[in-house]
Every structure is written in structure tokens, then in C-alpha cells.
Symmetry: D2
Subunit: 415 residues, 4 copies
């Protein structure tokens, strides 16, 4: 698309920020060896040529780089953010400058955000790269006639996969969808290593407080929670885990953490970090149990895990740190309960998103190649292995193959 066209169709904050956005994207490009190799060897075979692809993922430099690679592969890409707090205006500007249509502004209101998404829906995308099913569910709800024309959705998050499953249970998943989140190359790295690292880093940077000697309450012991707990421990923190599933709770216990119900767990917690992937993890009924001067942060799903609204008005006492008063106690909430690593930092590390977005790129390419049945599909194991092989190759790491004896053993039962 011509730049003027893209600019005319887009709604962004300020095209003049493009240079800074380009600089950010260039840094990402330099540290994305897997995407770079896939772009050279796989994406350009024509499958994506001319396809209308909507990218609705946190719009910072890594997402922007994915977007440019899809455009380079011939797709007609339109991009929006999945959360106004994580949108970086400079990056949006750089995309528009490259001729890509963008509907996103940092700090957009909920109504503006919805408008942006519906405007993307208007483009009648064939392929959707989604986060939290934010676009998909709006298409199903508001533009069902477009849903039937979808050639495929590929979903980034645990929460979004759950929503797709609910759509399927409701008989509404009439198009192909891929649970990209469930790819091993996504959730094994993005969740514990990516979010684990950057959420803790963001919490410490926003507050300038010590992790050593502190008590962390980690709410949710899935892949993200396990990554958080291990890193907090490595920094000298003591961890209490809150988890509803009894086997995962027992796992946390065996991993050396205290396990307790939320109301008990928060009683001595200096930091409470949510990572449940669901909603309403920390709500008003828990507030009376919080310690004076506790820090609340969210590393889970969007801004739904901490009920910040129930805390009432607050005062920003430090950039990104708002003090609320509850029963005479001070409760500090980081970045308004949005994803602390994205709204309070630059999001996941680049090399981790190189893997996650390789899953998304190959998933979109796979959908565009056709043949994926309607309903929720797994990301093909073969592609998962290909991404891992590619990453290992860029690191110079070789692998052995199973020997003949091992292949025979694997196939047999009598020896």
C-alpha cells in the first residue's frame, strides 16, 4: 500500500514518531533469527500473497516486526493493538510509514479501542492473528456474516484459547482456528521465561524495591506462575502460591513453595502478582486481608485479574504506582492492573517473541495454505519441531537422532 493511502486509512497518534519506531523495530529485527530465517525460507512461497491478515496483538516493536514480515510476504495487513496501554505510538507510525494500515493509539479509551477493532473487522480479514480472541469474538458477535468468511484464526494466549473453546462449545466456531498458545514453542518459553523475566523486572523497576527478603504471593501456578515463582526465589524472595487445581497446588508445594488460600496467602505478602489467565483473581473480599503497603501487579490476562475499580480512586505516588486506601491501609497498584511487563515495560524479551511469533507466522501461513478444518485445531507438531530446530540451528546446537535400536524399542513391546 502506498504510504499516503496507509496514512489516510489509519488512525494513529502521530506519524512524526516513525523514526523512533523504526529504530525500535530495527533492534528487534537484529535479535529475531528464527523469524528472519523463516521469512527467507518459508513465508514467501505465495501462500500469503494477497491475503487480508489482521494482526491484533500488543502493538509494540516485536508485533510490528511480525507485521512487516507478513506484509513482505505479500499479505495485506491491517494492525490494531490488543490493549491501549501497551500500544506504542512510535511503532504504529513506523508501520504506517511502511504502508501498513494501523488502528491504534496509546491510551485510547475503551470506546475508541472497540471502534478500532470494529474498523479492523470492516476490512473483512481472511486470517486473524489474535490475542485474547479480542477481534474474533467481536466479529462473531457483531459481524457474524464476516465470521463465515474467515479462513482462519490463530490465537496467542491461554485466555483466548479458552474463549475459542467456549465458542466451539456454543457451536459458533464455524471457521478454522489454531491454538497457537498451545504450541510448545510458545507456552514453554513465552510464559515462564518471557513473562516470568519481564514481569518481575518491571515490578522491581517500577518500585525500586528489593526482591531479596520479600514475600511474594503468586496467584496461579501455570506456566507463567511457575516462571515468576522460580525467578522471585532466585532473587532472594519467599514465595507463597495460590492455586485452585489440587495437583498443581501440590506441585507448588513439592517445588518448595508455601501453598495457601488467597486470603491467608496475602496476609504477609509484600508483592501480590496475579497470573491466572482468568478474571477476578484479586477482588474486594480479599482487600481486608492485604498487608499495609502491599504492591499489587498483574502478569496474567489483560487488566481483568485485579479488581482495581473496587479499590476506589488513587494517587500516583511514583510513575506507574498508584496508591489506594483500603481500611486505613495503603495498597499500591502497578500500571492500573494492566499487564505489568507490557504496560510497565517493553513486554517479553525479543528472542522469546521470536519463537512465539514464529509460531504465529507459521500458523497464519498454514491457515493461508488451506486444508485446516473448522473448529479448534492444534498447532501442527511438525511445525513446532521445525521452529525449535531452526532456533537451535541459529545457536549452533546440533541434535542426535534416535538410533536403530531405539526406534525398534519404541515400536516394540516384547523386548
Amino acid at each position: 500500500m502506498a504510504v499516503a493511502d496507509a496514512a489516510a486509512r489509519s488512525r494513529i497518534a502521530n506519524i512524526e514518531l516513525a523514526a523512533e519506531g523504526e529504530r525500535r523495530i530495527a533492534w528487534v529485527a537484529r535479535h529475531s533469527p528464527v523469524l528472519n530465517r523463516l521469512a527467507r525460507e518459508r513465508l514467501g512461497d505465495g501462500a500469503l500473497r494477497g491475503k487480508r491478515v489482521a494482526v491484533v496483538v500488543h502493538l509494540e516493536a516485536k508485533t510490528a516486526y511480525l507485521t512487516t514480515l507478513l506484509a513482505d510476504a505479500g499479505a495485506e495487513v491491517v494492525a490494531a493493538g490488543s490493549n491501549p496501554l501497551s500500544t506504542q505510538d512510535s511503532v504504529c507510525a513506523a508501520l504506517v510509514r511502511r504502508g501498513i494500515e494501523v488502528h491504534a493509539r496509546h491510551g485510547a479509551s475503551p470506546d475508541e479501542f472497540t471502534t478500532d477493532l470494529l474498523d479492523v473487522a470492516e476490512k473483512a480479514p481472511q486470517i486473524v492473528i489474535d490475542d485474547g480472541a479480542e477481534l474474533t469474538r467481536r466479529i462473531v458477535e457483531h459481524r457474524p456474516e464476516l465470521a463465515v468468511r474467515l479462513e482462519g484464526v490463530t490465537e496467542e494466549t491461554t485466555t483466548g484459547v479458552a474463549r475459542l473453546r467456549a465458542l466451539q462449545d456454543a457451536g459458533l466456531l464455524t471457521f478454522p482456528a489454531i491454538a497457537a498458545n498451545n504450541a510448545r514453542c510458545k507456552h514453554m518459553f513465552d510464559n515462564p521465561h518471557g513473562t516470568g523475566q519481564t514481569a518481575l523486572t518491571a515490578i522491581l523497576r517500577l518500585t525500586n524495591l528489593s526482591a531479596a527478603g520479600k514475600r511474594f504471593c503468586v496467584v496461579g501456578y501455570g506456566w507463567v506462575g511457575r516462571g515468576l515463582a522460580r525467578r522471585a526465589e532466585g532473587y532472594g524472595g519467599r514465595v507463597t502460591v495460590v492455586e485452585l487445581d489440587p495437583v498443581q497446588a501440590l506441585r507448588a508445594h513439592m517445588d518448595g513453595y508455601r501453598v495457601a488460600p488467597l486470603a491467608q496467602a496475602v496476609e504477609d505478602a509484600d508483592f501480590v502478582v496475579t497470573a491466572t489467565g482468568t478474571t477476578a483473581a484479586v477482588t474486594a473480599d480479599v482487600f481486608p486481608h492485604l498487608k499495609d503497603r502491599v504492591i499489587l501487579a498483574n502478569a496474567g490476562h489483560h487488566d481483568r485479574e485485579i479488581d482495581v475499580g473496587a479499590l476506589g480512586d488513587g494517587v500516583e505516588v511514583r510513575a506507574g504506582v498508584v496508591r489506594h486506601g483500603v481500611d486505613g491501609k495503603r495498597v499500591y497498584v502497578l500500571v492500573d492492573g494492566a499487564l505489568v511487563n507490557i504496560a510497565g515495560g517493553d513486554g517479553n524479551p525479543i528472542e522469546i517473541m521470536d519463537l512465539s511469533f514464529s509460531v504465529q507466522a507459521l500458523s497464519a501461513h498454514h491457515l493461508a495454505s488451506g486444508g485446516v478444518p473448522p473448529g479448534l485445531n492444534a498447532f501442527p507438531e511438525q511445525l513446532d519441531r521445525e521452529i525449535a530446530h531452526t532456533k537451535l540451528a541459529t545457536l549452533g546446537i546440533e541434535l542426535d537422532e534416535p538410533s536403530a535400536a531405539q526406534r525398534q524399542f519404541a515400536a516394540g513391546w516384547s523386548t
Copy 2:
């Protein structure tokens, strides 16, 4: 069964060792809160009464305790070991003294071991608690007419589950089987925490060497390998992982370990520990790459992972440590390549086996209750959760339940 009867039918080393066996079993009983509660509340409902149950698992005190609980629940139990090197004669004696038929002796020859298993098969068991499918595959092969009368097999290990799957692929799994190993309450704890702890402990004790400053080559990065690697690191060791699956190999890399093909990985390794669950993990083609004075140990499947035979004759230089000569280098093999934590120690920790054998006990009870279809079945999720709940209850740990908002969120897609 009367003691005299049991003694007459059994083949064990020495009934006089029963007192020591009883002492060992009593120690286990004291540290098995989950089994104790299940025995009180679940196993005695009559489902197991009169059932002929074969227990073919490493015959030391924990297995013996499971055996006695099944007998107390009314089953006619016959026991054999799954490996002659792990059989404890005192424990066998104690079982016979309690009136349970046993066919096992420590250090039995391969032929004697086979005879013991076939003698157990002769009892026409209805339920088999198996390890490595050692009894099941012999029944299928040698006594197919008994296979059709099996009411169910419940299998303890990764390797055994793979064999059952191969049997199924060959159309020979005509009876119900449960992949007990795949229960979360088994492989999430038994493999990393149980084997991880006891294999490393046994290696260090057998050799009296330091872990700090040493290079460990961990072959296989499944649940066992991950447990081993983390513990070796916690002890000041440096770990190189060998893994054939590219995603698991990448996981090892991201977890902070060096990843390399076996021939490279062993070049500077002080300890090489196998945990692949398959066969022929360390074979003659690798020997030239070993370092002088390397220690080889196996934490995986029986004694098949290290090709000890190819190392030629050796000299025992310390109890459980045999020196072999290869190309002028000294190669030390622990406990002849058998499972180092079992043949070189007392096997998994009691509380871990309390969970694993709770799976086996409930699995056997579930099979005895009928209604499980032929073929390979998952361990029921509900029972898995029940075991975890019971364990947490014995620890005094309570769990929250999902809130109404969370249940609604989990079921929905539009909010």
C-alpha cells in the same frame, strides 16, 4: 492365606529375615498418609475382595506396604519383583510371614527371574500392577489364554506405557489397561522429585565424590532428566543435556543448560546419567568420547540404557563401583547400570511413592470395580484430583474454589 501356605507356595531367600522386613515396612507405613487414608476410606468397599492381584514392582518396603494394603482390602495378592537387583529379601520374608505369596530373590539370574514371573502368571491374576509391563508382556507372549481373562493392568512407568501402546497398535491389548504413569500425581512427583533426588543422592554416596564443580551430562530431558539437572545444578554442578526432541532440547537451553549431541556432551563430563526411558542410550560408539575416570549411572529404564556388556569385564573398586578399561581410559559404572537409586539405594522417597502407589491402588480398585473398556485408558482425572486433595489435606493445606465470576468467565467467550 495361612503363613504356612504362603511359605510353601513362595520362593524367597530366607523367611528368617522377616523381622527386619517388618521394621522397614513399619517405617514406610508411618510416612504414607495418603495410602493410609485411602485404605481406611476407599479400598475396603469390597471391590477388591477375592480378586487375584499380581504386584510386579521393585520389591522393597514401599511396594511391600502397598501389597499388604491390597491384601487387607481382601485381595489375594501374589508379588514378584520387577528387577532382581532391587528386590530386598527381608521385605519378601515379611510379606510371606503375613501370608502373602512371593516369588522373588535378590540377585536372581535372568532365568530365575523369568521363572518367577511365569509362576506369577500361573496364578491367573485378574488385576496386574505392573512395572515396565514385565508381567503383562510375558502373559501376552507366553500365556495368551490368560490374557483374555485379565480384568485390568495398571502400569507404573513411561517405558511400560510405551509397551502397552505398542501392544495396542499390534491389536494385542484385548483387556483394560490404565496408564498409571501418566497420572499427574505420579509423573509430576515420582519422576523429577523422587528419582531426581534419590538418583543424585545414590551417585554421590556410592562414589563419595563432590557434585560441586563437576560436569554432569544428563541424557534425556523428560521429567526425570529435568529433576536431575535442577538438583545437580543446586549442588554446584554444571549440566550438559542430551535430548533428541528439538523442543525439549530448546527447553533445556532456556533453562540454562548446555545442550549438545552425546559424543560432544560426554567429552568433559565427570558424571554421565541416563534418563531416557528407552534403550541403548550410551553405547560402544560413544565410549571413545568419554573422559578418563568418568562415572556412568542410569536413572532411567531398568538396566538397558548403558550398554555395560560392551565395556567388557570390570573390577569392583568400591562397593557398587566397577572399573572398566576402554582405550586406556578408566570408566566407572555404578551398580552395573541398573537403576542407581534402587539398586544403589532404597529407591524413591517414601512420601513420593505414597502418591505413586495411591495412583496404583486407586487404579487397581477402579479396574476391579469394572466398567473400564479394553485398551489403554487414562487414569481418571477425578481420582488424580482426589489423591492430590488427600495429600494436601494431610498437610493441612486448604484450597480456594473458583468464584462465580471465574466459572462464568471460563464458560464464556464474549466478556
Copy 3:
């Protein structure tokens, strides 16, 4: 001092920034329980009343808070920064608004910085709280007649203590000095926990790169280097240590790290972090051994450890990240080789500096109380214990006392 007076005598960037500075100081005050208690119970006894105290430490909010407490105790404080890159103008403004004289501006040139320090010297301070002996050595060199009137210097860093020792060896330490850095409550916490946490956090935030799967070269295995190494490992990094002292090098080896000479150590390093406390840790002779795209950062002494000048001109490719070209390779230097946690972040965590500055406050108070002999003195063990006791008390942690039997055992030799 009246605000107008203070403003007239000070040289700062902009008094209008005072509100933001106040907000930052308020956040520090809230997380400094030990200083708060000492201020209430110890500092106000009159010993500091009317004393001219120079504070020459990185001038951000924590130092500012210390400065205000000394002023509240009656001292006539004059403050300067110890490094222009770490000076925060808003904080300087807030101090002036409180009537404290300040000579510091962010980004001052070397000449301006020297002028600021000499202007502070002009005030003829009686007590100096110094960092790197920056003020002390200038007084000795340029104004020896003021040196003889010094009632005491208390020094914050390893490097500064080494300089004081060199002064003493040269016969120039004619006044009392206290090695505050050597207090256990300083170097046991500030160095490994404070700098360890914030340096790693700053490196990851400045680059948005992953620690997991990366190779870190840690140059220097003192208290800071050990803190860095452990945290990098906890984040999934692999660490190689460079250390000149053979016993410390062996310690790194036993702690599970690879140990190598610098030229070897950097060959596969993704991150090289200096923590030697000396100068010229990474110089031109090492550049040929660096990997393409290596990141260099300094967590040690000021900006002397990496010879950035020898890298030639660079291009800022991301805020705080400058790319240099060496032999066709890209070498990225963070914050120009200045202390990465201070110049690239907010410096040490507040609670850690609460301990370090409690040492400084009690050290200054101790000097002001008189009786400390000329030369380099240890921080009194009794005060060290008092600070730890105070911290533990604010955490609600009680300690046992030695029993009579233990006191007798400690004193005896025959039982």
C-alpha cells in the same frame, strides 16, 4: 538555611522540578524503616548539630533522603553528586527547596563536576560522606590545609576504601576515616543483593533481551560479582567467571560456574558485565575476542572498568544502548560504561540503601561524636549489630541469645 539562601549558593539545573523530587523522596522515606527509626532515636542527640557535613554520593532520591535526615539532625549539609550521570535534577531541586545547598547537575561535564566538588571543599566540611573518595582525594590534593581540619571521612565503596588505604600508605591520611563499605550491613547486602538485582534488571530492561539461554561473562567474583552470577543463573543464564584471585576463582568453580581467563571467557558471551572495583577490566586487547553483537555493561567502579574510549565513536540504537564497530563486529555498550544500575535505572533498591545509609548515618554521627583516631578505622561492630537488630525489629523478627552453656563453651577449651 533559608530556601532563598540555599538557592543562591547552590548550582543545580532547575528549581522548578522540586515537586517531582519531593515525590521521589517521599517514596524512599516510606520504605526506609531503619533510617526512620535511627533518625527518631539516635541522630538527634546533638552530636551533629552545627556540623558542616558534605555528602558526595550519587545524588538520587535515596541519597537525598539521607541528606535531609542529617539536616533534620542539625547538620549544615552541602551535597554534590559522585557522578554526573547519576544525578537526578528533580531531587537536587527538592533539596534546595528544603534549604540544603547542592552543587550538582545531571550530565555535567568533567570540568563542571570538578568545579562542583571543589566548591563543596570550599565549605570546609568537618565530616565527609564520600563515594570513591572523590571529595577526600581532591581535598588532600588541592586543599591540604582543609584536610587537617577534617573531623572524619566515611567512605561508601570498595574502591574508595582502597584509595584511603593508599593515602594512608602515603602518610596522607592525617584525619579519621571509617571504611563504611566494610561494615557487614553494607557490603553483605548492598553489593550482592542491591547491585546484583538492579544491575541485571537494568541490563535486561535497557536491551529487552532474554536472560534465559544466554551466556554471561561476569568479570570479578567479589560480593557484587557473586550476586550477579547467582541472579543470572536464576534467570536461566549460563555464567562464566573471570577472577584473578585463585581462591575466589576456585570458589566460582565450586559454585558451578565456568572459570576462564577473560579472552577465553568472552568468546561465547552474550553479555559481559564488569564488577571488579578496579580499572581497565575490559580493554582494547580483549576486543578481538568479543562475539559479534555482545552487550557490555559495568556494575563496578564508576565508568572506569570498560575502556569505552578505545571502542571509538558509536551510534545510539536504542535508549542507553550504543553500537560500536570493532573488527567488523557490533559491540553494544550500555550507558557508556557508567554504573548500569544507576545510570540505566534508579540505582540500588530502597531497603538496601536504607541499610547502607544507616551505616553512613551512624558512621557520620560516630565521627561527629569525636574520639575516632586518625587513619583508616573499621566501622564499629557494635553499630553494625545495632543496624541489623533494628532492621530485624522492623520486620518483626526476634533472635535468641546464646545460652549459658554456649557462653561457657565459647570461653573454654577443656570441655
Copy 4:
């Protein structure tokens, strides 16, 4: 000495066990590269020739190997154990077979033990390698006329050094003594890595219990306690530290452990491990606070830390595990409160003792060379560095030297 002579003068259990003892010593020799190199290059210079050297250290294979090296260097060695529970009879037999006089038997009574030590004193040793000052204090007390002829004592433990210091304070240290324990190559490795590893390993092996999910109370946070705590954490344990020194207590807090007074700390502890180096760490006043079925073990000084006597009679419920009853609770004590890693295992790892005994060998050699003044002396820093250099050389690790710029910086104060 001729074998017949040695046998005639010795008092050991059974000379027939010599072959097994030789096998054990040979394994040690193979893993002691530092001692082997020192024996070749340093010990044989004649300084030790003809010197009467008493070795009174836990008499198992590593001590025996040190003893043989001293004899090979020309010394007239006489050996005794420092604790009857750690004496290995086979090793004693092997020493006698090599012509070395030995006074030690496993399980000797206190009276027999004292007689053995006094018999060693009768030999009028010139050099004493001591553990806990067991021989030295008896010589001072019972044979003061021999004390004046001592050319030197070199002491292995924290406790022994404290006793020597008490002797010095009492004016009784009239001969040269070296605090070998305080050598960095001893306490930095032996205490945390050696005892840390083997004490935890022994506890887990003796009990066959899980570390994962367990609460460890570590009493004493010195070098041993820190090693224990870190390893227990690495095995999935949760640690509470008891420590009397407030700064060390704060360090434990910052390292991520709970800190509490003993009576609180034991309340939920599954394992209580003492590592105080003093006496009476766990006494009758604490028993009411213990949890039912707690395991007590000692990793500190001999068998003085747990007041086992106050627990009354017990029943051995498993080898090395004795059950006592206290207030209706079961309290299990490992190896009667003796050093759990020595009495319940083979003691420290060989390579760790290779360092510790290199300190002892060079210390004895240094004393034998003359020139060490009476009183308590530090182990010479130069020898400490030499041992570390030797160890690193055997590992193939090279070190850099300080550059000219760094040497100049270290010596200066004005740059």
C-alpha cells in the same frame, strides 16, 4: 616402621580388614590430585623427615591417605580417630599394614577413646594435626611437659580454633599453632560444599524421605549452615534459619529464608539440622516445641549440638534412626546426634578433603620447617593461593594476572 612393629604398638579392631581398607584408600588416592601433586613437589624436601606427627582426625579413608603421604615424606606418624563413630576399622588395618601406628576402633567407649588419645600423646609428637583440639587440649591438661616440646599444632575445625583461642587467652598456648580451618581453601569449600552436600545426602539416605515439600530448620547460618540451606532449597525444601548473630540472621533473611527463634522455628519443621559449631544447640527446653515425627540431625560439632541424653532411651526403627518419645510425640534422632555425614556416611567428598588436607599437609610442613612463632597463627596466604592454583591447574583452568594499569590503580589514590 616394620609392619610387625606397627601391629604390635597399635590398637585396632582387626588387621584382617586391611584389603578393604586399601581398596578404599586407593579410591581416595585416585581423586586427590592436589595432594598427589604436593606430595610429588613439596612434601618430600626433608622438612618432615623423622618428625613425629600425630594425626587425630576422623579416621576414614581420606584421613588415612593424608597419613600415608606424611609417612611417605619421612614422618613417623601415629594416628587416632577424632570420634569413635567415624573410625573405619578397615582403614585402620590398612594403615597398620603399611607400617603406621594406629590407636582407634569403631565404636570405642569414651574411656577407650580417651586412652587411645593419651597413648598417642605418649609418643611425644612434635607436630599435631588435630580436629576439635581433641589431642592438643588433652596434652595441655594431662601432659603439660609434652606441650612445651610441641613444634606445632594445625587445627581442622571452627570449634578447635575457638578452643585454641581460649587456650591462648588463658596463657596456655605456649607453642605454635595454625588455624588451618580459617584457610580459605578449607572453610570456603569443606564447610558449605563438603558438609552441605554430604550431610543432606546422609539425612535423606538414612530416612528414605523426600526433601521436596519439607520444612528444614537449619540452626546456625555460618559456612556450613549456608551450604545446607542452599542445598535443601535446591531439593525443594523450605528453610527456616536460626541464628544468634543479627547480621548473619539478616543475611539469611535476604537470602530468602524465614528467620525465627529456635522455639518458633522448629514448630513446623520436618527436619532440624544443627550447624552451630558450639554446644547445646537443641536442648530439653526446645523439645516441647518439636513437631510429632520430626527428624533431628547434626552437621556441626561432634555430638554436642543435640542433647540426645535428655531425650531418654530410644528404639532403633531403621538403621541409624532412633525413635524417642517426648510428650507423646515421636522424635527421630539420626546416628545418635553424631556428625550425620561422617557417622551416617563416608564424610566429606574426596575432592573437598583433597583441598582441606592439602591445607593440613602444607600447614604441618610449614610448622616442621620452623620459624612459626608460639600462639595462634593464620595459615599463610601464600600457601592458600598455592593450593588454589594447584587445584585450578589440575582442572586445566588458567587465570589472568592484574594488568599494569590495575596494579597502578590499586596502589594509587589520586586517579
